[in-house]
C-alpha cells in the first residue's frame, strides 16, 4: 500500500489537509501501524487532485496560514474500494530493539536497561495515544477494532518487558551484593 491509498483512506473518514493527515499518522489512532512524511503526503495529494480522486478547497484562517482542505470524490471512493479489495501484504515489523536484545552479549547491563526502558516508554506512548483517541471515538467500528488490537499487542509487549526488567534488576542487585 502506498501513500496515495493512505491519503484516500483517511479522507474517506473525514476531510483533511495534508498537515492534518500527517498529524493523524503521527499522533492519531493510526500512529502505531502507519507512517508517512510531508515529502510523500503533499505530492500524493496534488496527484490525487489532478486525477479527480479528491477535491481541494482553500480555507482561510485568521492568524494561521491558509489551509487546503481535501475531500474524497465518488471516483476516489471507488479507487479506494478497489485498492482495499486486493489481498493486503503481510504485516511488516522492524525492530532494532529486538535486534539489540538478540545481540545482548555486546551490551553492558546498564545499556540493556536503558534500551528496555526506552522500548517501554515507546510502547506506553503508543498505548496513551490509543487511549486518548478512543475517547474521541471518531471512526466507529473500524477504529474501535484497531484500537483494541493495538491495545492488546502493545500491552503484551509491555508486560513482557516489565518482567524482563524486574529480572535484570534482581540480577544486578544480586551481583552487587
Amino acid at each position: 500500500m502506498n501513500v496515495r491509498t493512505l491519503c484516500l483512506g483517511i479522507l474517506s473518514l473525514q476531510e483533511a489537509s495534508g498537515y492534518e493527515i500527517k498529524k493523524d499518522v503521527e499522533d492519531g489512532l493510526f500512529s502505531h501501524f502507519i507512517d508517512a512524511s510531508y515529502g510523500s503526503i503533499y505530492p500524493a495529494l496534488t496527484q490525487l487532485a489532478a486525477e479527480g480522486l479528491v477535491t481541494v478547497r482553500a480555507e482561510e484562517q485568521t492568524g494561521k496560514p491558509d489551509k487546503k482542505v481535501y475531500a474524497i470524490t465518488d471516483t476516489g471512493q471507488t479507487a479506494l474500494a478497489n485498492a482495499l479489495s486486493v489481498k493486503p501484504a503481510k504485516d511488516k515489523y522492524k525492530s532494532e530493539f529486538l535486534f539489540q536484545m538478540l545481540l545482548q552479549d555486546f551490551l553492558s547491563p546498564d545499556i540493556m536497561l536503558v534500551a528496555i526502558q526506552k522500548q517501554l516508554d515507546d510502547l506506553n506512548a503508543d498505548l496513551g495515544r490509543i487511549a486518548h483517541c478512543e475517547c474521541g471515538a471518531d471512526g466507529g467500528q473500524g477504529a474501535r477494532f484497531v484500537a483494541e488490537y493495538g491495545h492488546a499487542v502493545l500491552t503484551a509487549g509491555v508486560n513482557c518487558l516489565e518482567n524482563k526488567k524486574a529480572e535484570l534488576l534482581q540480577q544486578l542487585a544480586a551481583q552487587a551484593a
Copy 2:
C-alpha cells in the same frame, strides 16, 4: 539500522553464506522483526569483506554450488559493538491489515473474514517459526528473550483476532436466521 549491521550481527552468532543469512531472516528466529533481500545482502557482504570486517572462504559442496562462507573479524566485532551502542530507532510496524480493518465499511463481511483468517494464519506461521527455532536454541539468552517477546506479542494478536472472528461469525449467523 542497515543491512550491513544486520549481516554483521548474524555473523557474530555463526558463520554463514549470503543464502543462509537470507534464510535466517526469512524462516528463522529473526523472521518476524527483520527483513532483507538478496539484492541488499550480497552487495553488503562484498563490501564488508572489502573493508575487512568479515572474511570469506569458499566451501566446495558435492552436488550443490560452491558456498561463500563469511565469518566476522575482530574489526567487524568492534564495528558491530559500535553500531549496537547507538540508541535504536523506534520500532516500525506497518500493517495493511489494520488499515483494511479501519476502513471496514468498504468491505463485505466475507472479505473481512478472509482478511482476518489470513492475518491469523500469518501470525500463527510466525509463532510456529519461533517455536521451531526455540528447540534449536542457538543464540542463548538473547534468542530466548526475543522468542519470548515475539511469542507474547503474536499470541496477543491471535487471541484478539479469534475473539473478533467468533463475534463476526455470530453476527453473520444471526443475520442469516
